[in-house]
Assembly symmetry: C2
Homo-oligomer: 259 residues x 2
């Protein structure tokens, strides 16, 4: 048990371990926890880029968990406007417990080609039953997801286009870093300027000009779907980025499985 944990703990990342990395931002997982997580993600499928994983109005029957690629939650307005209300990167659950609801009030779409696990209610129960640490970790995940949503609300409500875009880039960089998909200020960044526009409530034209400003100010490089944050402290400063809402402080270590 100790060995397995130690080994998997040293693997920087790999198929299926993004979830574990994410949950370990809250609490150390035991070998059994990791194994259970692996079991729950055995059932997965691929979704092509720009296709829906599940659409507004559908009855949710399982929990989705992003194993690889990026996805988004979006809502469409009758006048045709689309808004991306959330982004999912590897390791993110798309709503623990959704299957309680009768119908989806939004759609989940793949940004890139997506590898996504489908976890049934029974499997979720099996995952959490007798595993209080796992239960807590999932609650933490939901709380963080809610906190991110609030921060996006704040972002749209109070920040300028420049600050707003900067804030989004920093958030995504940090989230990717916690699941081992970002290093040295660099990460994959598959969003088009159109996606960024839909996520920030700006037009793609204005996103374009604002990104040029960010580049001009020496804060970022962004091309060929690669983001490079050149000056993290400064971009955090200008976007008034307070990382507290990501709740990455490892205080959960008092729940350490291997303590």
């Amino acid at each position: 048990m100790t060995l397995l944990t130690a080994v998997s703990g040293t693997i920087p990342f790999g198929a299926g371990s993004a979830v574990a990395s994410k949950l370990e931002a809250f609490t150390r997982l035991s070998a059994d926890d990791r194994a259970a997580l692996g079991g729950a993600t055995r059932n997965f499928r691929y979704v092509d880029a720009r296709r829906d994983v599940i659409s507004e109005g559908d009855k949710p029957r399982c929990v989705h968990l992003v194993l690889d690629g990026w996805a988004c939650r979006y809502k469409q307005l009758p006048d045709g406007k689309r808004h991306i209300v959330a982004l999912f990167v590897p390791g993110d659950f798309c709503d623990v417990n959704v299957y309680i609801l009768k119908a989806m009030d939004h759609s989940i779409g793949a940004i890139t080609r997506l590898k996504v696990a489908m976890i049934t209610p029974d499997e979720m129960n099996a995952l959490t039953a007798e595993r209080p640490r796992m239960t807590q970790a999932l609650s933490w995940h939901e709380l963080v997801t809610a906190a991110v949503q609030r921060e996006w609300t704040l972002n749209l409500g109070q920040r300028s286009a420049y600050e707003r875009l900067a804030h989004l880039l920093v958030e995504l960089y940090l989230r990717l870093a916690t699941v081992g998909r970002a290093y040295d200020g660099r990460c994959d960044f598959p969003l088009t300027q159109n996606d960024l526009a839909d996520a920030t409530g700006l037009t793609s034209v204005h996103v374009n000009r604002t990104l040029q400003e960010l580049r001009g100010d020496g804060l970022i490089e962004l091309e060929r779907k690669q983001l490079h944050i050149l000056d993290l402290p400064r971009i955090m400063e200008v976007s008034m980025f307070n990382p507290n809402y990501l709740h990455l402080d490892h205080e959960g270590r008092h729940l350490d499985a291997n303590a």
Copy 2:
């Protein structure tokens, strides 16, 4: 049991029953469920208007449940801007499970004088243990809260000032109606134009002018902290209000305790 349920079921509203009304939008509660809810809310306090219930940075030790009055979640930016990211009306929980987190990433403030229950983790466990329907109802509550937060994100991102304010008014009216605090298009509405500005990302000056437009168009009356929605279908139309995100469809009746 049947008698007690029937009796409490016929009381339109009263101290402590807003929660039950809210949860019953999802599932019928048994007499035992109601009693347990009553027990959990026995420990409450009053908070003066404009005072914090809990502040950013504080360690959350219990779940808060609004019994009477209005409250809000807000976040403050270093440049002094404040944004109200959520509103609470009677019957709303302020984050089931928060106590998992190390520190609040936002503050909860009273809009009016507030009667708020403080429920300890132990009491929450006692409330849900052996009561799967209650557990589900609380999950539903959290899912709806998340859906509302997404809708606010959409609201800020895609709707004009006019649509945005209209949407907010409709949402609050419907939420109050589900807990028996709104009838015939009328409800208490203690928010100042300043609060509305902080919640919609507008300035209070623009909120003022936009409210005048809504009044001029015969959609609402709003004075002396009383809101009167004159034409619900039309204001829903102009604000592109789709109530699906409130998940008020009583399909949960298959879980009816008295079926």
